[in-house]
Each structure stands twice: as structure tokens, then as C-alpha cells.
């Protein structure tokens, strides 16, 4: 089975963030980056499927030169080769543009399965996977907790609300967006890291500029607001007023 896994590079989770001058994104010039965690689970799932069914795992990322770090990491963990859609403009592109760039790289590969993380740790739109499936013209299922390959088709377990799950079948080729915790991640091994140095990262041209469909207008830290309101009056009145405020304004019950 030929599997493509999309990896996003995100700013390290515990970084101290600062808003950039345009106030539309964080200052990432001096930030540390890491692999988007849900994508790490998608990669692990792909590696497990390969171990069971054979085939090839290709990791794909779209973004500036720095995203090669996550591709290298993917290769170190066991992916066979990597595709890099390189463009500085993709660093802040919207989900639609990213999906287009990824489709340009994955399309010609004619893969059987595409895996993405359910969503990204930074923006969390959960859109790239589904848009990419549409662009590739293949079936997709989201929030996947288990994958089974049965007779050239898939049976996957989706997570629903309230502790419910749903099993669905879909034909191959297909795209799945993988939920974190679906498996236990492997650690990076020395042998893997050494082998990764010899593996190929192929550059793919970014498709011609797509007009953004979505724009971040303003980015700011949540403002901490603390308001103190004094309730006066006789104890009975005050109590009545307090109940009303709690119910209608604070909506605690």
C-alpha cells in the first residue's frame, strides 16, 4: 500500500508567543518548531499499516525551507521518502491554499491512502484533510480512531460525541484524518536518524498563487477581564438579585 502522510510544522507548544507587527500572526522568526502532534499520530498509523501490509510511506509538507526539519523527522521515524512543496508564501496560507499545494505533490504519486492529522495545534481548522480529499477526488473520513484494511477497502472507526463511535466502510483510494491517541507513538531511533540522512526529500513546485479565501484580520491575546459588581440592598433583596445575576448574566445554572 502506498501511503502519503501530510505533516505540518507548528510552533513549539510551550513557546512564549508574541504577536507580530502586523498583528495578524505570531512572531515566528526566533521561534522553535515541532511536528504537529496529530500529524505524528497519522505518521505512526501509516508506519503501522506499512508494517502490516507492506508498501511505502511518503511524508509531504508544504511551507518554507524550515519545514524540512519535520520531513527529516518523518524519515527518521521510518517514512521512505519525502516531498516538499517549498514556498515562503505557504507559511501563512489558508487551509484551501495548503490543500492545493499538497494535492499538487500527492496527485501524481497515485497513492492508495492519504493520512493527515485531524487538525493542527496552531490554527485548528481541521480543513486541510477534507479539502485535500476533494481536490484529489477521493473518499474521506474524519476523526479516525482505528483503521482496518479489508479486501482492498477500508473499515474505519470514527469518534463521535459523548463516547460514541461509528464504523464506516470506504473504498480505496481514500483520505483519513487521524485523531490523536489512536496509537502509541514510537520514539526516534539512532538507526532511523542515520538512515534518514540518506533518504530523499524531493522538492515540488508550488502551484501558481491562489487567492486567499480566508484572512486573519487581527490576532490578540485573550484579555483577562475582572469585573466586580456590588449588590446592595436588604439581605433578602440582595440574595434575590444575586440569584438573578448568577442565572441571567453569569449563566452558571
Amino acid at each position: 500500500m502506498k501511503i502519503a502522510v501530510c505533516l505540518k510544522q507548528v510552533i513549539k507548544r510551550d513557546s512564549t508567543l508574541r504577536v507580530d507587527d502586523a498583528r495578524t500572526w505570531v512572531r515566528d522568526a526566533d521561534a522553535e518548531f515541532e511536528m504537529n502532534e496529530p500529524d505524528a499520530y497519522a505518521l505512526e498509523e501509516a508506519l503501522r499499516l506499512k508494517e502490516q501490509h507492506g508498501g511505502e510511506v511518503i511524508v509531504v509538507s508544504a511551507g518554507p525551507a524550515r519545514v524540512q526539519t519535520v520531513l527529516r523527522e518523518g524519515l527518521a521515524r521510518g517514512a521512505d521518502r519525502a516531498l516538499h512543496v517549498e514556498s515562503d508564501a505557504l507559511a501563512q496560507a489558508d487551509a484551501f491554499a495548503i490543500a492545493g499545494a499538497l494535492a499538487a505533490a500527492i496527485g501524481p504519486e497515485q497513492v492508495d491512502l492519504v493520512l493527515t492529522g485531524l487538525q493542527s495545534d496552531d490554527q485548528g481548522f481541521a480543513q486541510v484533510g477534507v479539502v485535500l480529499a476533494e481536490k484529489l477526488g477521493i473518499a474521506h473520513a474524519t476523526i479516525i480512531m482505528e483503521v482496518k484494511v479489508e479486501g482492498g477497502a477500508l473499515r474505519v472507526k470514527r469518534e463521535l460525541e459523548g463516547g460514541w463511535f461509528q464504523w464506516v466502510g470506504l473504498p480505496l483510494p481514500a483520505l483519513l484524518t487521524i485523531q490523536s491517541g489512536i496509537n502509541t507513538l514510537r520514539y526516534a531511533t539512532l538507526k532511523g536518524i542515520m538512515a534518514a540522512k540518506k533518504k530523499e526529500i524531493r522538492r515540488v513546485d508550488a502551484p501558481a498563487g491562489v487567492a486567499p479565501r480566508q484572512k486573519i484580520v487581527s490576532l490578540y491575546f485573550p484579555e483577562k477581564t475582572k469585573q466586580t459588581r456590588m449588590i446592595t440592598g436588604s439581605p433578602a433583596d440582595a440574595a434575590r438579585e444575586l440569584v438573578r445575576v448568577l442565572r441571567e448574566d453569569a449563566r452558571v445554572f
Partner: protein, 618 residues
């Protein structure tokens, strides 16, 4: 000696010495086939150790005074008899007969007390082996030892007969010749038997001891450029480990002191070394080490260092165990309990998981400055536990208060990563080096010269392992520093406590006096548990085992807790965050209400209680 006798002796000599030499050559080749890892740093230190541990047998005697003294007698006797044997060979081979010279007679007379000492020693040791049969020695060793024992007794008796009876006869009688032959042939036979027995230590242990690293658990960095990945198969064992295998005297001291073995695990450090020996001789060069031992064995070692530290002949166990772990980890075959820790370390650079903001919150609430070399003398290294674990944060606050009260200037780094202790000891060298290089960069950028930490594992990692990254600083455990700062304090004893020496402090750093001084100064009478100071019994946390939840056999922590409880003290003072976690857990399972106090909290509490400080009671 008649001409026929001389020729006969030459024949026997060549045959037996030849047998000896061919066996030795086999072993020499096997040792030299390993990668050369023989280092000779600190030669004066090594020579000094050679004198105390070989000439004076200090380690043998310290561990077991009576047996050790008996062994010392036999050893000195052997040395004293060297020239006597040599003269015998010259005579027998027909080179020159010195046996009738006056000086030789005087030498013989001087040998008599040595001879009696050897006899006394060997008879005692034979009785011990044959009758008492200590378990650690194993069954087969005893039989072989008894035979060698008889050899030695016969050698001594024939010597005495020669000196007191036959030496005075004008012309040699048949009895005198028989006596001479028995003596000489036994020596040659003994020589021939040496290589394939534990008695090989007679010849090689001085070398092994000399080559043993001055630092306990010396496990050099892997060189990634050379594609080093650790020991996978037997052929990867380096020269020192091979020499070790042939040196083992099967005394069982390592086994007796191993916490894993004591609690019924599969791991036995003595068996490991002997398995190496057998496999080397058996030519199993391509056999994987995991198959040679048992897969589980390698993951049961807490890296407490007791085996290596107690071994009287300079054998280093931990480099083999950690080396073999590396071989597995490099292939993705780490024990299951480690996978999660590795993931956490990769993603969060600490062993617990919370982000840097949690550490930041702690620093802010404790009011600590960020280290500035122009303003601060010491860098306080928090470590994963100090930064993130609630109980140990309290201990760190206590340290901060003591330092402030004593006018010591200090700061902390804005950001710390785990030192990489767990990664290093459990064999994840890549992760270790990633963490270490980043920390070392930070130290260098901040011109750090003096570091104080309350975690003994950080102490060993920064103080010793980081030297391989070109970082040298004065690295102290908080107990050492606070003991220096409170020299004048004296409080009357008002309670009885017991103290648990952390392996990485008492054994590795050799720091067992400062904690006791502090306790004595601040009003505690210390009752010592079994296994203390430089040979403590491990709490079970080291080497990554803090994260192992399914320990086979009895829990090591439980065993240690029982030893501590047996002192009768209701308060246990500890100087390591991991010991503290393990022992508290063991006490909780035992439903005991023993109180555990970290050393720094203890001292700070007493200082405040005594109102010895302006902010007392604050």
C-alpha cells in the same frame, strides 16, 4: 640433578608451559579483537588505586574483613614465593643451580612466615568454601577451589619439608627428589589450569583494575559520525569488557549487592559477566546480546552501580548493560515503559510532560532571578523534579531560603531541559546528546562556573557526563554546599531519624558525610539502616525504572523501605526526588505512616524553628 632428570623436567616444562601459553594466547586474541576502549587518563590515581586495592587488598578486606585478610595472606605469600619458583625452574632446566647459595638460604628462611600465613589463609578459605558454601560463590566454583586449595597446601608443605628436612642433607635422597618434583610439577600444573579457571584473576586482575575507569559508570558518548549505535552483538563488546569477562573471580560480590537480584529479578551481574566469558570462548561473535542474556535482564538494572563499585578486580558492569541497552534502543527495541518517557522527552524536554510555563510559574512565585554571571555566584539547577513536581518544589524553596539567609547569590536559567539522565542510563544516546548539547550551550552562553542542584542524577549528569561535551564547572549537591555554609550551627538533638543515601549521591559522588553532618548539626540523631554511605541499597528508580510499573518479583523500593523501617526511626530523610517518590510509594503500600522529609526541607525547617534567622517563622 641427573642429566635424565633435567631432560625429563625440560619436557614437562615445555608441555605444561606450552599448554598455559596457548590458552593465554586464545584469550589475548579475543580481548584484542574488541574495539580499543582502553583509556589511561589520571595515571597517578590509577597507580594509587592499584596499590591500595591490589597490594593492600583494601576492597576485599573492607567488604569482608576476615575472608579478606586470609586472602591477603595468600596473595602476599604468592608474591613472596615468586623468586623461589624461578630459582626452582633455573635449577630444573639445568641453567644454573642457585639453591645452595647462602643468600638463597636466608631467603628461604624469610619465606617461612609467609608460608605459614598462606597455609592459615588457605585452610580458612577452604573450610569456608567446602563447609559454609556461601551462596554467592555458586556450586561449581567451590569444587574447583577445593582442588586448587589442595594444590596450594601441598606446595607449602613441600616447601617446608625442603627447608627443614631435605635442604640439610649432604646428598639428595630419593625422598628429597620426589618432594622437589611434586612441588615443581604442581606449580606447572597450576599454571596450566589458571587460564580456564577463575584463578586467571591472579595474572590479569592488576591490569583490569588499572584499566578500570576512575569514574564509576563511565559510558562514553556514542560517536554518530562513526555510526556507532551501541552494542548489538557479542562482537561489539570492546576490549575492556572482554578483559573483564576473563578476569571475573566469581566471588559474587556484585550479585550480593545487586538490588535487582536481591528482589528476585532475572538480572544477575555476575551471571552477565560469566555469560560474556563463555560466549567469547564459544566463538558466538554474531550472537545478539539480548539472546545471550535474557531480554528482560537488560531492563531490570537501576544503574545503581553497586556491582561495579563492589567488584574487587575492576570489572565494569554498567558500560556493558548500558551499551547493550543502546544497541536495543537504536533499533527501536526499548522496553515498553520507556517509549512514553522518550516521547515526552522529545516533545517537552522534561520527563513529566508539562510545558515550560509551569516551571516559569514556579520561578515567579518563588521570586528567583534569572541567572546573571555578573550578579550571581551560583546557578541553581532545578531539574525536572525541582521545576515541576510539587513535593520537590518545596525542597527547592527550602534551598532558596537557606541560600538567601546565608547571603549566597544565585539565579536559575530561563529555560532548562532535562539533563538527559534517564535517556543516558536507559540507552537513548541520541536523545541524551540532543538535550545535553542544548543545555551545555546555555551554560556556556551564561558563563556558568558553579552549579548547585538538589538532584543527585543531575549532579552526575552535569558534573561528569557533560564533561564529554567540553563543559567543566564546579557542580555541587545542595547538601555539600549547605554543609559548608552552616559550619557553626549546633542544635541539641531532639529527634531520631534515619537517612537513605541516594546511589547517585552516596555511591557515585561519594558524598555521604555532608548529609550526616547537617542532620547532626540540626538536632537529629541518625540511626543507620543496613547498606549505607557508599554502598546504599537502591530505591529502585534509577536507569529509567522510575517509569516501570510492572516490576517482576518484589519491588526494590519495598525492600529498601523495609530496611529503613527496621531502624525503628519514624522519620526518613532523603536527598533525591526519585528516591523520595519510590520510598513514599513503598511506605504507602505498606500502610505505614513513616514521615519522609527532604534534606533541604529538614534543615530549613530547623533553621526557621530555631528562629536563627531574621525571617524565622515566615
Amino acid at each position: 640433578m641427573s642429566g635424565i632428570e633435567v631432560w625429563l623436567f625440560r619436557l614437562v616444562f615445555v608441555a605444561l608451559v606450552g599448554w598455559f601459553a596457548s590458552q593465554m594466547l586464545t584469550r589475548y586474541r579475543l580481548v584484542m579483537a574488541g574495539a580499543n576502549n582502553l583509556s589511561l587518563d589520571d595515571v597517578p590515581g590509577r597507580v594509587q588505586r592499584l596499590v591500595t586495592e591490589v597490594v593492600f587488598q583494601s576492597k576485599v578486606i573492607k567488604a569482608k574483613p576476615i575472608v579478606g585478610t586470609a586472602h591477603l595472606f595468600v596473595f602476599w605469600g604468592f608474591c613472596a614465593f615468586g623468586l623461589y619458583t624461578f630459582v626452582g625452574f633455573l635449577q630444573g632446566l639445568g641453567v644454573v643451580d642457585l639453591s645452595r647459595r647462602a643468600w638463597f638460604h636466608a631467603y628461604q628462611a624469610a619465606l617461612v612466615p609467609f608460608c605459614l600465613a598462606v597455609l592459615a589463609g588457605i585452610v580458612f578459605l577452604m573450610i569456608r568454601r567446602g563447609i559454609a558454601r556461601p551462596a554467592a560463590l555458586g556450586a561449581t566454583v567451590s569444587r574447583e577451589s577445593i582442588m586448587i586449595g589442595f594444590f596450594i597446601v601441598t606446595l607449602m608443605v613441600t616447601f617446608l619439608l625442603e627447608f627443614f628436612v631435605f635442604g640439610h642433607q649432604a646428598s639428595p635422597t630419593v625422598a628429597a627428589r620426589v618432594n622437589w618434583w611434586v612441588h615443581m610439577v604442581l606449580i606447572l600444573l597450576f599454571l596450566g589450569l589458571i587460564p580456564n579457571s577463575k584463578h586467571l584473576h591472579l595474572l590479569v586482575s592488576p591490569l583490569t583494575l588499572f584499566l578500570k575507569s576512575p569514574q564509576l559508570q563511565s559510558v562514553p558518548n556514542l560517536d554518530f559520525e562513526k555510526e556507532e549505535v551501541g552494542f548489538e552483538a557479542l562482537k561489539d563488546l570492546p576490549a575492556k569488557a572482554r578483559l573483564d569477562a576473563f578476569t571475573c573471580v566469581e566471588c559474587g560480590r556484585c550479585q550480593e549487592n545487586c538490588p535487582a537480584f536481591a528482589t528476585g529479578k532475572l538480572l544477575n551481574p555476575k551471571a552477565l559477566i560469566l555469560q560474556n566469558e563463555a560466549a567469547l570462548l564459544g566463538g558466538k561473535h554474531d550472537t545478539k546480546l539480548v539472546d545471550l542474556y535474557d531480554e528482560n535482564v537488560l531492563w531490570q538494572c537501576t544503574t545503581c552501580g553497586a556491582c561495579e563499585n563492589q567488584c574487587p578486580v575492576g570489572i565494569e558492569h554498567t558500560p556493558v548493560i548500558i551499551g547493550a541497552r543502546r544497541g536495543l534502543v537504536s533499533n527501536g527495541e526499548a522496553a515498553e515503559y520507556l517509549t512514553k518517557v522518550y516521547n515526552t522527552l522529545e516533545r517537552h524536554q522534561n520527563i513529566w510532560g508539562p510545558g515550560n510555563d509551569s516551571r516559569q510559574k514556579f520561578i515567579t512565585s518563588a521570586g528567583i532571578d534569572i541567572f546573571d554571571p555578573a550578579k550571581h555566584e551560583y546557578l541553581v539547577w532545578l531539574g525536572c523534579a525541582g521545576a515541576l513536581e510539587a513535593d520537590f518544589q518545596r525542597s527547592l524553596r527550602a534551598l532558596f531560603d537557606i541560600l538567601r539567609a546565608k547571603g549566597v547569590t544565585f539565579g536559575v536559567l530561563a529555560r532548562e531541559r532535562c539533563t538527559g539522565d534517564v535517556a543516558k542510563r536507559s540507552g537513548n544516546e541520541f536523545l541524551f546528546q540532543e538535550l545535553a548539547t542544548q543545555n551545555v550551550d546555555d551554560f556556556k552562553a551564561k558563563q556558568v562556573k558553579k552549579i548547585v542542584t538538589s538532584c543527585p542524577h543531575c549532579l552526575k549528569t552535569i558534573g561528569h557526563d557533560y564533561r564529554h561535551f567540553g563543559f567543566e564547572a564546579e557542580v555541587l549537591h545542595s547538601a555539600t554546599l549547605v554543609a559548608r555554609l552552616t559550619g557553626g550551627a549546633h542544635m541539641a538533638a531532639d529527634e531520631t531519624v534515619t537517612y537513605h543515601d541516594p546511589c547517585y549521591l552516596g555511591r557515585y559522588a561519594g558524598e555521604h558525610e555532608a548529609p550526616r553532618q547537617l542532620l547532626a548539626r540540626f538536632g537529629a540523631t541518625v540511626v543507620e539502616p543496613e547498606r549505607n554511605r557508599d554502598n546504599p541499597f537502591c530505591c529502585g528508580a534509577g536507569g529509567g525504572l522510575l517509569f516501570e510499573e510492572h516490576e517482576p518479583g518484589k519491588r526494590i523500593s519495598e525492600h529498601r523501605y523495609e530496611q529503613l523501617a527496621a531502624t525503628g526511626a519514624s522519620k526518613v530523610v532523603v536527598g533525591c526526588p526519585f528516591c523520595s517518590i519510590m520510598l513514599k510509594g513503598a511506605a504507602a503500600s505498606a500502610n505505614a505512616n513513616t514521615e519522609f522529609v527532604d534534606l533541604m526541607s529538614y534543615v530549613d525547617g530547623k533553621l526557621k524553628q530555631a528562629g536563627a534567622r531574621p525571617d524565622a517563622g515566615a
